[in-house]
């Protein structure tokens, strides 16, 4: 059956290769990651404790706790802003989870007519620039009396963050086998027990990842808060922006660190879900 002609054996043209190069590149990339990540953080730490630090000194000439004392005092409104930021972040995250998990499940598990349209609508708020939308919403909220309120700020924070929750959850549900739930029902578990003992453990990495994204988007939101909060709802980024624009490096950097701390805490708990075997980040590739 085979009429294959013999070829002169193995006529490959030499292709250049360099095994050592790959090793060197590998190490170089790791070093670059470490340095690259840490470099912009270093001046923040040092500046927040410096009193006077002029060019060309590589270290501050005089250290001081002035910035930290100021931040701790009621005068700076930092405590107030911190609480506002935390409340808004928590409420936005919880709302996004409640709204986003069912939506993600619907998209991840099903094919239906108009799915592309629904996906497009859900993605639209993060593709279409927020400025155009927020200025319109501003007018709407003025009429509804929602400007300058915490509730109004929570609502607008949902706009850029909810799509992330839905995307992550739809990615997780795309890899989820519903038959586990059906098995649980047939073994006599009710709806709630099935959700708690079967569904929840399977989708938890997704919920954690999605919540992380939502919280961080809300936590670092400046422009939406300023426009809708109208200067009445003071959050950390609003304060930070004011200080940064005013140019007081010590207070600005101290505030930066306060602003960073909760995020780092959250990452400590969620890090394994991000790069782990769970497909939580994969959702971004699927839509």
């Amino acid at each position: 059956m085979i009429g294959l002609r013999r070829f002169p054996s193995w006529d490959r043209r030499e292709v250049k290769g360099c095994p050592a190069c790959f090793q060197v590149i590998h190490v170089a990339v790791i070093v670059a990651i470490v340095l690259g990540v840490l470099l912009p953080v270093i001046p923040l730490l040092v500046w927040s404790f410096s009193h006077s630090w002029f060019f060309p000194e590589i270290l501050p000439m005089e250290l001081s706790g002035r910035a930290w004392t100021y931040i701790g005092s009621p005068l700076s409104k930092v405590a107030n802003a911190l609480i506002n930021s935390l409340i808004i972040g928590a409420v936005v995250t919880a709302s996004a989870a409640v709204l986003g998990i069912p939506a993600g499940r619907a998209l991840g598990l099903n094919r239906f007519r108009g799915k592309t349209l629904v996906e497009f609508l859900i993605l639209a708020p993060i593709i279409v620039p927020g400025l155009a939308v927020i200025m319109g919403i501003h007018v709407l909220f003025i009429r509804l009396g929602l400007v300058d309120t915490l509730f109004g700020v929570v609502l607008v924070h949902l706009l850029p963050s909810l799509p992330y929750m839905i995307m992550v959850m739809s990615g997780v549900f795309a890899n989820y086998n519903v038959e586990f739930e059906q098995q649980a029902y047939s073994l006599g578990a009710g709806r709630i027990r099935t959700f708690v003992h079967v569904t929840l453990p399977a989708i938890l990495p997704g919920i954690v990842t999605g919540s992380l994204f939502v919280f961080l988007i809300s936590w670092s939101q400046y422009i939406l808060t300023v426009l809708i909060g109208g200067g009445r709802v003071i959050t950390l980024p609003v304060l930070l922006f004011a200080f940064a624009a005013a140019g007081d490096n010590a207070v600005t950097t101290a505030l930066c660190i306060v602003f960073l701390a909760p995020a780092i805490l959250i990452l400590l708990f969620t890090s394994r879900y991000l790069s782990g075997e769970s497909g939580a980040m994969g959702g971004f590739g699927r839509l």
Partner: protein, 347 residues
Amino acid sequence: MSSVALHQLSHSYAGSTYPAVKDIDFTIEKGELVSLLGPSGCGKTTTLKLIAGLLRPTSGEIYFDADRVTDVKPERREAVMVFQNYLLFPYMSIEENVGFGLRMRRLNKQVIAQRVQEMLAVMKLEKLRGRKPAQLSGGQQQRAALARALVLQPKVLLLDEPLSNLDAHLRDEMRELILSIQRSLGVTTIFVTHDQEEAVLLADRIALMFDGKIQQVGESKIFYERPASRRIASFFGNNNSISGFKENRRVTCSIGEFLVESDAAAGPVTVVIRPESILFGDHGVNSFNALVKRQIYMGTHNRYRIDVDGAEWEVIASADSGADLEGKRVSFSLPPEKIWVIPERGQ
């Protein structure tokens, strides 16, 4: 085409203390079709990847003919592996997939086109050339994956479970295809399988692996007739074995004393006999009584499950006798020349 020799080949995966493959010594002749057979996790795919160069041995050497290839990178090794799930590149057409290796070698475009064309014809893939892998059936994907490897005219062809993802009827067809290609090209071929029947049907020789070691090598017949251990007998479907002690030409065990023709040394042994070699009735030598637990009619023959000192043996006999023996104690005989005696090695 070249022979493949493995010398004291061992491999441990990073982070694992237990070697996946240990001290493998094995030579595959030029043009031979050899099966690495064993249960999952026995190290057979690891061995295949070592030969392909995808894994580096922790110790030991690999030779293709007289050339030491242990340090040769996979892309230069001229041993091409076909993976179990075909792994056709999903974004390339079948034609592009088949030409992949030739393009990587930067061959002249016309040469590539010509060789791919010939290979597609051989594999009857010409009509599917423009399709993407996802648009092909399992059997077609398997043929494309084979074409992609064979178009390179490798010295050694490595197949990982080539038939396991196919339906039963496709499996026969593919087995014949592999066999005819292998025979006509004469390419040295090593294929991995967990299915002893597949190995028996396809391979010139079988190398049976357990626990990272090659246990027995030979033509398929010896695994049925002269298994090297009770475990091998059992892997080939024969559980008719019993431990005993050999002295001269006699083996004493819990169901009696048996005359054997084996030259095995005196000492503890395992006695193995094939289901179709056991005779009904007392034939004057090596007879014993056993309870027939179950009798199964199989059309051309009957299959009996009998209780031999707590173990379950199988007896196959002609269906002519017709009598229902289930639940009865019956006498059986073991012909001495059919008994295979395995010395127990200090266990």
